[in-house]
Amino acid sequence: MKIKADELTKTFRVGPSEITAVDKVSFEISKPAFTAIIGRSGSGKSTLLNLVGLNDCPTSGKILCDDADVSLLSGSERRKIRLWRMGFVFQTFNLLPTLNALENVELPMALAGKHGKEQMEKATSLLENVGLGKRLFHRPKQLSMGEMQRVAIARAMANDPEVIVADEPTGELDSETAKEIIALLFDISRKGKTVIVATHDEKLVEVADVIYTIEDGKLRFGG
């Protein structure tokens, strides 16, 4: 999926003052690659990622997916794009605590209306691919942080999306586990997926094909 941001701006009102988290950002990701958006905490990278991931609406500017302006779409249409064409990996994993690993991965497929057997086979295969074949029925609290993030990555891949959006995927992990997660995301990008990662982890930056730096809401190409 080709993603283009055109003069993207997001402002927040905090009391009497207005904060510009993303300031007239423009960029284009035209082919599958590992793209890293780096920046300090509070620089606006998570906000930018939420805009690109269609979890938020821009104050001004456009986001184009395959040349279609998705910033004008209704909530339900944006939800369909998130369900079918995007996968999300969060810093704090955001697994549903009442579901086990398998059910967490099955969830996006269930939402997409896939059959039970298909869901189970695909979820099992995805969890095996991330090395959790023996942890299928463990609940999140029974898993380590690295394992939870692997489940989250498997969940992001459940509906075979074209884009994986990852917000600080290694932020909560120790360096060894972070390396494993980076390797997983890198592998995914090499399988023809677009991976967009917001991070300040240098190891992630080292493997990225494209690097953008965001500072005070302004984006520039390069590290």
Partner: protein, 372 residues
């Protein structure tokens, strides 16, 4: 959920007890179906005031009525409710005695069978035989042949009434003359049931009786219903008010609990929406959860409420609670149980609507950012 269990229990227990109370009142009317009821002027039946005072024998009044046009039959009845502690009339009558001429029993009581192992209705000439309601018999462990004492007189039980009517279940029935002797109403009755001839208007008969006999009140079936209706309406209004108040409290309770539950799981709902869950899906989850609270709370409330109703019935009749267990559905009718259960689940569904709307209106990016 405990709150919901408590409120449902309260509704069931109070509702069932009230229902039995109104049933007894209604049954008094049913027993004299199609007949004009004559009582002493200005009284109600449970006051047990003799017609014509203690000076005029019932035969005098009865003969006057029997001589009127349109009268097919008269049945004199002595209906006595026991007096409670301190000489007060009990607000809810617990048991009754009824004296009726034996040949008319079936006309007043209907075709009431006797329980199980035989027995018979006492004869008019009998001086020590009575029939008793099943509930009274069960309470005291009486069977046919048991000897009991009523007002210092000893009697032999010759029949146990097998009836569903609450009133008859709590009745000691004896021949009229015997009742007059036992309760010290010599020659007196407090009710005369008058059956009009086929096609003769009850209203005209009542007018004639009132004109002819100055010291009685005569009531048609409709008038009796009209008399009972305000009492029933009042009881039922209170009952409805109580139900409504408790259901409203339950609604607020469930809504508060669900709002708290949703706000504690904002990140989960935001995650669901971020990965593409339709709003309807999120809405359904919240409604389903609040309904589940209703199913569990309602179910447990049903159990505890039914037990509560049995305890109330036991306190109210002095019958040991264990004896109510086999007839629990008499005390709390199944339809009432189903109705309350469905009402509780519906209230919980309603209570889940606002939290469910809140869950679907979350700003995903804000919630996810705030939760880090």
């Amino acid at each position: 959920m405990m709150g919901l269990v408590l409120s449902t229990s309260f509704v069931i227990a109070i509702g069932a007890a009230t229902m039995r109370y109104t049933t007894v009142i209604k049954e008094i009317s049913v027993l004299f179906n199609g007949q004009v009821m004559v009582v002493s002027k200005g009284t109600i039946v449970i006051q047990a005031v003799p017609i014509g005072g203690s000076m005029l024998p019932q035969a005098f009044t009865e003969e006057k009525i029997r001589g009127m046009a349109g009268v097919e039959r008269t049945v004199p009845i002595l209906f006595v409710t026991p007096i409670g502690i301190g000489g007060m009339i009990q607000p809810v009558p617990v048991n009754f005695s009824m004296g009726i001429p034996v040949e008319y029993w079936h006309l007043i009581l209907g075709p009431t069978p006797l329980r199980g192992n035989g027995g018979y209705f006492p004869s008019n000439e009998s001086s020590n035989e009575v029939a008793v309601g099943a509930s009274l018999a069960d309470e005291h462990g009486w069977t046919v042949g048991t000897r009991i004492t009523v007002n210092d007189n000893e009697f032999k039980i010759v029949g146990v009434l097998d009836t569903r009517l609450a009133l008859l279940n709590r009745c000691v029935i004896m021949p009229l003359m015997l009742a007059q002797e036992v309760y010290n109403y010599p020659g007196s009755v407090n009710i005369i049931a008058v059956k009009p001839v086929q096609g003769y208007s009850q209203k005209n008969l009542v007018e004639a009786i009132k004109q002819e006999i100055s010291y009685v009140t005569a009531l048609t079936e409709g008038e009796r219903n009209d008399m009972i209706q305000p009492v029933l309406s009042q009881v039922e209004t209170w009952n409805l008010g109580l139900h409504t108040a408790i259901f409203l409290m339950s609604l607020i309770l469930v809504m508060t609990v669900t709002v708290m539950s949703v706000s504690e799981r904002r990140r989960d709902f935001a995650t669901l929406e971020a990965i593409g869950a339709p709003l309807g899906y999120v809405f359904r989850i919240v409604i389903l959860e609040s309904s589940l609270i209703g199913v569990l709370g309602g179910g447990l409330g049903l159990v505890f409420g039914s037990l509560g109703a049995l305890v109330l019935a036991s306190l109210y009749t002095n019958i040991p609670i264990a004896q109510f267990f086999p007839s629990i559905f008499e005390v709390v009718p199944p339809l009432y149980m189903v109705g309350i259960f469905l009402a509780v689940v519906s209230v919980c569904c309603l209570g889940g609507i606002i939290p469910a709307i809140n869950a679907t209106r979350m700003r995903i990016a804000e919630v996810l950012r705030a939760e880090y």
